[in-house]
């Protein structure tokens, strides 16, 4: 019986918010779409590897509402993001900023690709006349 009441308590109270709730949504479709896009690039700091758009935590809910509020105030996407970075650090952005050591992370792919392809062409392609 105790369990039953506990169950009632858990299910009938707002035990968890689950991702974007209907009351969070903005009426302006364009703004809402931008809010979703920004949310998907922000990390939920109290979760395990989740963005705030799909997270059910209180932190994510607050941040989603904050992003929407700022959008309604007319801030641009990058203004909102850089404000959040200044408040929470780079950790909150799921795409590391292109600066300092992070440049290595971005360049390693293209560099390896160029080196690899060059090596192939210089060392492995046979000269037609030689054949």
């Amino acid at each position: 019986m105790k369990i039953f009441f506990l169950l009632l308590f858990v299910i009938f109270t707002n035990f968890e918010a689950f991702a974007v709730e209907p009351n969070e949504k903005l009426d302006n479709e364009g703004l809402e779409r931008r809010a979703r896009l920004i949310s998907s690039e922000l990390r939920c700091l109290v979760c395990q590897n989740e963005n705030i758009d799909s997270s059910s935590s209180e932190f994510a809910t607050d941040l989603r509402i904050f992003v929407r509020k700022k959008l309604q105030e007319g801030l641009t996407d990058s203004e909102i993001k850089s404000y959040l970075v200044s408040k929470y650090g780079d950790f909150i952005i799921l795409r590391p900023p292109f600066k300092e050591y992070n440049i290595i992370l971005y360049l390693i792919g293209p560099l390896l690709f160029i080196i690899g392809v060059l090596t192939l062409f210089l060392l492995f392609v046979s000269k037609k006349r030689g054949n």
Partner: protein, 644 residues
């Protein structure tokens, strides 16, 4: 009792493998007498660890809470299947399964290596045994699954409810079959490097093990991905979670290995490269284990958070990889003449494929460990997530997909692209098909490229199969015989088409997915993407280990009933946890996905509905890729010489 039995056989297996290890490493031990005895050793080790594993499963089935592992991970109210899968749903148990599968592969290799030179076989078994011994040592010394508790609790702590799932019960064993299948190419490569007798068709020996591993890795990843799709509540299918990346890395390297093996098999080139890839593929399986098991990363998967274990595993991996690479450096075959290829030969384009796959592997690997590197060296915290991978991988996937059909059609040692008109017409057809998508509305450049390239890959692969089948019709048409005779080529084209389908599904879902979240009362309905969703009823039910609320929704399209969906909210009594179970109506063209949210004060509920176009193509794609690899695996090698 079972626990002690299991522990006993675990230690016995360690003793046996150490004994066998000694007999292989000390030259004096190689008398014929020992030959006879040691022949049965791999089977014995396999049986011993098997008994050990079954004992562990028994303690789970019997809910013997005096065993620490069972007390922490099981519960009397759990259904039998999840009690059994609970045996590997935790750190110690999964490591026992890990070693057992290693032993299974040792046994399989022994059985299927009758025709190979005995020196290679012995040395391969030796390497495999070393790996097994290392992991058995780890099990016995640091991570004993059979540890008893002095004061056993009356009830276990239960398994994490979101892990109580049939797909997830089979996800780890399948993935392990893939990870550890790669131990055989690793051992063969090192065995080959250590052998003096190099007179063996290495490509043929490694090939089937690589394909088998690739098959299991693909299926394992697929199971995990489908599970995430319906369980995590918003229908994502790939999250770029470090643990997912850990399984993607060996998959990518095995893919590269399978392709370069073709060059070795058909042209006899790239032997060093193949050896290196074989070593690297298994190394990344080990690194993946380290990432998952060390507790360095926090995620659903990291159930071990004991630093001493992390350190032990790290040492183990350094030992295995370090030794592997050193043996490679010292003993790698010396190629006197620099290999040269024609620009338009298949082998050169396979090398291009390898370069791109390795670039993708490097990006994923670096992205996965980047947060740790940065934190270790500068103390800063950074996040590397989906937006990063989307940005940095997309260009390479585009190049890869564009080159694929051309590479696939080139001839071995070919000198030119012989079918240029065909490619030009294929290009035009794909372009026209993609342009018709514009009739339904504007699309981004990336979506355009995604659709174009998936068509480009799929159509060319289908064309390859058609051409193959039509060529054989002159000798009398027998569909199954033709497919059977050409399993390698049909398998190849199927796998390529699967890649195209996967790309199409991924593009379509990310572009055209629609979503609605709203408050609904019973009896209300609304429209989304042509479907009408009617909230019909809500019901409370009770199961053995949880209680639940089930909503009933009718989905109609026009006047036709598409189906009923029953999303749930569950309350797990033993853990006092609430989970949401999405309900999905899968169709060929789109999935309707409903999640039941919270109840409001009155009789309103939060209802979340997604329509996901073409998501089935993602699963279909991976299934085709797996099917292709298995067709290749079962092919009759003798026929290869005649086919191209």
């Amino acid at each position: 009792m079972e626990a002690e039995l299991g522990h006993f056989f675990c230690i016995s297996a360690l003793c046996l493998s150490l004994l066998l290890f000694l007999r292989h490493s000390i030259p004096g031990f190689t008398g014929t007498y020992f030959e006879d005895v040691t022949k049965f050793m791999p089977s014995l080790i396999f049986i011993f660890i098997g008994i050990s594993f079954f004992s562990l499963s028994l303690t789970f089935v019997n809910s013997d809470f005096s065993v620490k592992l069972v007390a922490n991970n099981s519960h009397t109210l759990k259904p039998l299947i999840y009690k059994v899968s609970g045996a590997w749903g935790n750190h110690e148990g999964s490591m026992l399964l890990w070693v057992w599968i290693l032993a299974l592969y040792l046994l399989l290799f022994q059985v299927f290596s009758k025709k190979l030179p005995s020196e290679l076989v012995n040395k391969t078994i030796f390497i495999q045994l070393s790996v097994i011994s290392l992991f058995l040592l780890y099990l016995v010394l640091v991570s004993n699954p059979f540890e008893r508790l002095d004061n056993p609790p009356a009830e276990g702590e239960g398994l994490n409810p979101i892990l109580q799932d049939i797909l997830l019960a089979f996800h780890p064993p399948t993935l392990y079959l893939g990870y550890l299948g790669l131990s055989i190419p690793f051992s063969i490569a090192l065995g080959f490097l250590l052998s003096n007798d190099k007179n063996v068709d290495l490509a043929k020996v490694i090939r089937s093990w690589a394909l088998l591993s690739f098959f299991f890795l693909s299926v394992g990843i697929l199971l995990g991905s489908i599970w995430a799709y319906y369980e995590l509540g918003w229908g994502g299918w790939w999250f770029w979670d470090p643990v997912e990346n850990a399984s993607l890395l060996p998959w990518l390297l095995t893919l590269a290995l399978i392709h370069s093996l073709l060059v070795l098999e058909r042209r006899g080139h790239l032997i060093s490269w193949v050896l290196l890839l074989s070593i690297m593929a298994f190394s990344f399986s080990l690194i993946g284990t380290f990432i998952v098991r060390s507790g360095l990363l926090t995620s659903v998967h990291a159930f071990a958070n004991d630093p001493s274990r992390g350190l032990f595993i790290l040492l183990l991996i350094f030992l295995a990889i370090g030794l592997g690479l050193s043996i490679f450096m010292v003993r790698k075959p010396i190629v006197l003449n620099q290999t040269k290829f024609n620009l338009f030969s298949k082998e050169f384009w396979i090398l291009l494929n390898n370069v791109i796959l390795l670039v993708i592997t490097s990006i994923v690997f670096l992205g996965t460990i980047w947060p740790f590197l940065v934190e270790a060296f500068s103390g800063d915290q950074v996040s590397v997530g989906k937006p990063f991978y989307d940005l940095s991988l997309t260009p390479f996937v585009i190049i890869f997909a564009f080159l694929l059909p051309i590479a696939s059609s080139l001839k071995w040692n070919g000198k030119k692209v012989s079918n240029l008109p065909y490619f030009i017409s294929l290009f035009v057809i794909c372009l026209i098909c993609t342009l018709t998508f514009l009739l339904w509305g504007s699309i981004s450049l990336l979506t355009f490229l995604g659709i174009f390239l998936s068509l480009w890959v799929v159509l060319s692969s289908v064309w390859e199969i058609c051409k193959l089948l039509s060529k054989r019709t002159r000798e009398g048409f027998d569909f199954f015989k033709t497919v059977k005779m050409n399993r390698i080529l049909v398998g190849k084209s199927l796998a390529h088409a699967g890649f195209g389908a996967l790309m199409f599904g991924a593009t379509a879902v990310s572009t055209w997915e629609t979503e609605d979240v709203r408050y609904m009362k019973i009896g209300e309905e609304f429209k989304i993407s042509g479907y009408t969703i009617l909230f019909k009823e809500i019901e409370f039910q009770s199961q053995s280990n949880f209680k639940k609320v089930v909503g009933e929704f009718n989905i109609t399209k026009g006047n036709r009933l598409v189906g009923n969906l029953y999303p749930e909210k569950r309350f797990y009594i033993s853990r006092q946890e609430v989970t949401t179970e999405a309900s999905i109506k899968p169709n060929f063209f789109d999935d309707v996905y409903i999640v039941l949210g919270n109840k409001l004060n009155s009789d309103e509920w939060v209802v979340r509905v997604y329509v996901k176009p073409f998501i089935s193509f993602i699963w279909l794609g991976v299934i085709l890729i797996s099917l292709g690899s298995i067709m290749n695996l079962t092919s009759n090698r003798g026929k290869l010489k005649h086919a191209n």
